[in-house]
């Protein structure tokens, strides 16, 4: 209710301002002045406002950086993620430096060169030297950014996955299911035509590799051990987003996509640092329907012993599907 009242008050203020403007226009007409002519004092006021409001914007930006810094994602919990963080710090520092130079400069110029009737502008149409400078400098800086970026991208995407534990992540409206590849570290074949109420993600049980696979409601990872996530989707495009690990990959019906990474911090360590509520979580990051906002699965990073105990408690697919028949 208060919101509506505020909105009403604002509307009334606007209506009043509009009326005032009309009055001023009529008065000016009586005095034979042109109310819409930009005067020297207008230039003075507007130039000054650009300086003040512009600097206010800079202050607002700095305030946000301090005030909301603690809300940002913690340091990456994966090996490649740490490299991405370094690249991010480098790029962010660079763009902030440029931002904090150019924006105040723009607003200052607006103020400094506010016009008046007595002044004349300086006729300065081009300068090959200056233009060369500000083509070459961005080119050099960008060369650095591109090389650094591509190196990090290469180190992230082209990793050796021969040792990685394979886990499948299966998406559907609006939940995630995971499949451990079992002791053989091989996922059995799957096909959407095999999906039934029992065989929820369509695993081919004729395939020997499927027998020791395990369906999971949450994913456990061993700290320091590489993992290769394979993604499938049942219905529409979803995107598996694990912000703490700096991992994201679309899940596309008809395709298998993948992302490999190595977790470096256990959930327990993170809880100590970030608070008891902390949890690694998988989100959906591609619009997928009404409950898109609530499609989650938890990831837990733990030691080898904890992992072994947990995985042993889970039934294999052969136990689940074949023995029943």
């Amino acid at each position: 209710m208060t919101n509506i009242l505020i909105a009403l008050v604002v509307l009334l203020v606007i209506a009043a301002l509009v009326q005032l403007t009309r009055v001023s226009e009529l008065l000016a007409e009586l005095k034979n002045e042109d109310v819409n002519e930009v005067t020297d004092s207008d230039n003075q006021t507007q130039g000054f406002l650009y300086l003040v409001v512009g600097m206010g914007f800079i202050v607002f930006v700095v305030w946000q950086m301090f005030e909301w810094n603690h809300l940002l994602l913690p340091e990456a919990s994966s090996i490649h993620g740490a490299k991405i963080d370094v690249l991010m710090q480098f790029t962010m520092t660079m763009i902030l430096v440029v931002f904090f130079i150019l924006t105040p400069m723009l607003f200052y110029f607006a103020y400094r060169y506010r016009g008046n009737k007595k002044k004349t502008a300086y006729f300065f149409a081009h300068s090959n030297k200056l233009e060369l400078i500000w083509t070459v400098i961005p080119t050099i800086v960008l060369t650095g950014v591109i090389i650094f970026g591509l190196k990090t991208w290469d180190e992230t995407m082209n990793v050796d996955t021969s040792e990685a534990k394979i886990i499948e992540v299966y998406s559907e409206q609006f939940k995630w299911t995971a499949r451990s590849s079992g002791e053989d570290n091989k996922l059995g074949n799957s096909n959407f035509k095999l999906v039934t109420a029992e065989n929820a993600i369509g695993v081919d049980m004729q395939d020997q590799n499927s027998l020791d696979d395990k369906l999971l409601r949450e994913v456990h990872l061993v700290v320091g051990e590489p993992v290769l996530l394979k993604f499938r989707s049942r219905d529409v495009i979803h995107s598996a987003f694990l912000p703490h690990f700096r991992v994201q990959m679309n899940c596309v019906p008809g395709l298998i996509t993948q992302f490999a990474f190595t977790p470096t911090k256990t959930t327990k360590q993170m809880k100590q640092k970030e608070g008891e509520d902390f949890e690694y979580v998988l989100l959906c990051n591609k619009i997928c329907g009404a409950a898109h906002y609530n499609m989650q699965m938890s990831f837990i990073v733990e030691t080898q012993e904890e992992y072994d105990a947990w995985i042993a408690s889970k039934k294999t697919l052969s136990e689940k599907l074949l023995t029943q028949k």
């Binding site: 509307l11 301002l17 509009v18 403007t21 009309r22 001023s24 226009e25 819409n36 230039n43 507007q46 650009y50 409001v53 914007f57 946000q64 909301w68 940002l72 991010m88 962010m92 763009i95 924006t103 110029f109 607006a110 060169y113 506010r114 016009g115 004349t120 502008a121 006729f123 300065f124 149409a125 200056l130 083509t135 080119t139 960008l142 950014v145 591109i146 970026g149 991208w153 290469d154 992230t156 995407m157 409206q173 959407f192 049942r234 219905d235 529409v236 495009i237 987003f241 912000p243 703490h244 700096r246 008809g254 902390f278 989100l283 959906c284 591609k286 997928c288 329907g289 009404a290 906002y293």
Partner: protein, 583 residues
């Protein structure tokens, strides 16, 4: 053309073939759609600040969009963001911006009586108009309008079982966008032909104002990329209605196993973004053209580095065709391909940086006259800097992994494309209003409108970067489902406050615009003391633009404060004096 045949109300105001009237039709349709799109954003911002609560704003919505508790339904939240995006990207910033200013400025600034084909030009508007009617009507069909995001990725957009909006609403969306593309192609071809063939005597390409250069490249981009969107949409229509499998494969939805095999949704994304990225520059370039013109006129200085500005427009236009893959880094594309797209994408920063430095150099030692248009133009440069810089993060594939599809992206493109383009458009409206309607818009209301908009806009979009860096995905009905986002509600409140305030202050502009059409003070022929040709036409805005002969051009459009000249401006029609050098 120049003979004054008698015009009826219908030929003058409705089925007009006069480019100036068509421009105004585009502008006013665009403004109506902008108001609609803005109201939608106000509604979903209220939901984001007060998730799951009822609001008086929801009474604006069709009844079935709200549940018994008075809260917005999650799928209708998605309908709102989808329609907001569609309207703003295509209706306001493509048709509303290019349609208005290409139509209005091209003949006037190159010295032509009208477009090459007035009839095709009229058709272009009426296709757009029908597209508008279809799109707006889709809001009221069963299941609601398209809800799969403005990028309408299949399979979500192909399967009504997946989301209600993918039923009739999506069909109408596709019909509407098909009409829209036809309209924009008719317009675009006309703009190109007109600029190339109908320039008046002396108006060489090197003397064209930057607005015309920008509109020329924009039209070329549109003509090359919109047909791809059309084919992309046609294949989707086939998949939806005729059982083909271009984009669909291996799908079970709502327990139903579909027959489709062998298609790929990624194909859709490639086709879509082949339009989608040039589209960004279709939006941005006209705004930058307007900003260049307005800054130069009101700085009373030539635009700095005219040739470099033209070259950077051309380079940006070219590069925009080879960067579309940066929207798809997370689709599982070959990492090498990702590297190529990162490389080409980051290259765009070079011509963009040149443009920014040239704007700064234009302002340096200027004699700035702060018209409302000038305020918006400078703010447009500011938005271009702020939003452009974050593009360096999103365009870098490695960094994109963690900010892709988060609010960081939302902040980025709303500033660099939304704000720059809207500021450019508003600058254009304030600047050329006297030429459009023969009257002035009120200066003081313009000042107020500017400062309120400027403050609110940064208040809305800058905090979004922090939401994104906190990992918050876009297109979430609410962020309360994840404890990790609990700290963010404060930011959401701030954004919503500024969004509502920013929406309300636009009434200042609307009032000023419509009031001034009828009651504004009378404009003189050249109120801004500008050089370009449009200001040599009579205030009465006649069909055919110039009574008698077309003007002859002797110089470029930027001889402001030229040493040796009597005034601080020299019309393009003024012959060079003896010994005077052209720029």
């Amino acid at each position: 053309m120049s003979d004054h045949h008698k015009e009826t109300f219908i030929t003058k105001y409705i089925f007009s073939q006069d480019h100036k009237m068509i421009a105004k039709q585009f502008l006013i349709t665009g403004m109506i759609m902008a108001v609609l799109g803005m109201i939608m954003s106000a509604v979903f911002r209220v939901q984001l600040a007060n998730p799951g609560e009822s609001s008086i704003l929801y009474t604006l919505l069709p009844g079935s969009w709200v549940n018994e508790m008075g809260a917005l339904n999650p799928d209708k939240y998605l309908a709102l963001v989808t329609m907001h995006g569609t309207i703003l990207v295509f209706w306001v910033l493509t048709a509303g911006l290019s349609g208005t200013f290409a139509n209005f400025l091209i003949p006037l600034q190159i010295g032509a009586r009208d477009m090459a084909s007035g009839f095709i030009n009229m058709l272009s508007y009426w296709f757009f108009f029908i597209a508008t009617i279809v799109l707006v009507s889709s809001i009221y069909v069963q299941g609601g309008p398209a809800s799969g995001g403005w990028t309408i990725y299949p399979p979500l957009s192909a399967l009504p079982q997946a989301i209600p909006g993918s039923g009739t609403g999506m069909t109408l969306w596709l019909v509407s966008i098909t009409l829209f593309v036809v309209g924009s192609l008719l317009g675009g071809l006309n703009y190109i032909v007109t600029i190339l063939n109908l320039r008046t005597k002396g108006m060489s390409m090197q003397r064209m104002p930057l607005t015309i250069w920008a509109l020329l490249v924009t039209a070329i981009l549109g003509v090359l990329s919109f047909p791809v969107l059309l084919s992309c949409g046609l294949l989707l229509i086939f998949d939806r209605s005729f059982g083909t499998s271009f984009y669909l494969s291996d799908i079970i939805v709502n327990g139903e196993m579909l027959h489709n095999m062998g298609g790929s949704p990624i194909l859709f994304e490639h086709l879509f973004w082949f339009l989608g990225h040039p589209e960004v520059y279709i939006i941005l370039l006209p705004a930058l053209g307007i900003i260049s013109e307005v800054i130069s006129v009101n700085s009373r200085k030539p635009i700095f580095g005219y040739k470099a500005m033209v070259v950077s427009i051309l380079v940006i236009g070219f590069l925009s065709f080879i960067v579309w893959g940066h929207h798809m880094f997370m689709t599982g594309m070959n990492p090498f391909l990702g590297s190529v797209f990162t490389f080409t994408t980051l290259l765009i920063a070079i011509p963009s940086a040149v443009k920014v430095f040239n704007y700064l150099a234009t302002l340096w030692r200027a004699n700035i006259r702060f018209t409302p248009a000038m305020l918006f133009a400078i703010a447009g440069v500011s938005a271009f800097i702020t939003g452009g810089l974050t593009g360096l993060i999103l365009g870098d594939s490695a960094l994109d992994i963690n900010v892709h599809d988060t609010y960081f992206v939302v902040g980025h493109f709303h500033i660099v494309m939304g704000l720059s383009a809207i500021y450019g458009m508003l600058a254009g409206v304030y600047h050329w209003f006297p030429k459009m309607y023969g009257r002035m818009m009120n200066k003081n209301l313009g000042y107020l409108h500017f400062w309120a908009t400027f403050i609110c806009a940064y208040g809305v979009f800058f905090p979004m970067h922090f939401l994104g860096l906190a990992g918050l995905p876009r297109r979430y009905y609410t962020n309360t489902a994840f404890p990790m986002f609990d700290g963010l509600s404060n930011i959401n409140d701030i954004i919503t406050f500024f969004a509502l305030a920013g929406a309300i202050v636009q009434t200042l502009f609307l009032f000023n615009f419509f009031y001034s059409i009828f009651k504004g003070t009378k404009a003189s022929q050249n109120p801004w003391k500008s050089n370009s040709l449009e200001w040599t036409t009579p205030v009465e805005r006649i069909h055919g633009n110039w009574p008698g002969e077309l003007p002859t051009v002797h110089r470029w459009a930027y001889d402001y404060s030229k040493p040796g000249a009597e005034d601080d401006f020299v019309l393009q029609t003024e012959p060079l004096k003896e010994g005077e050098e052209e720029h």
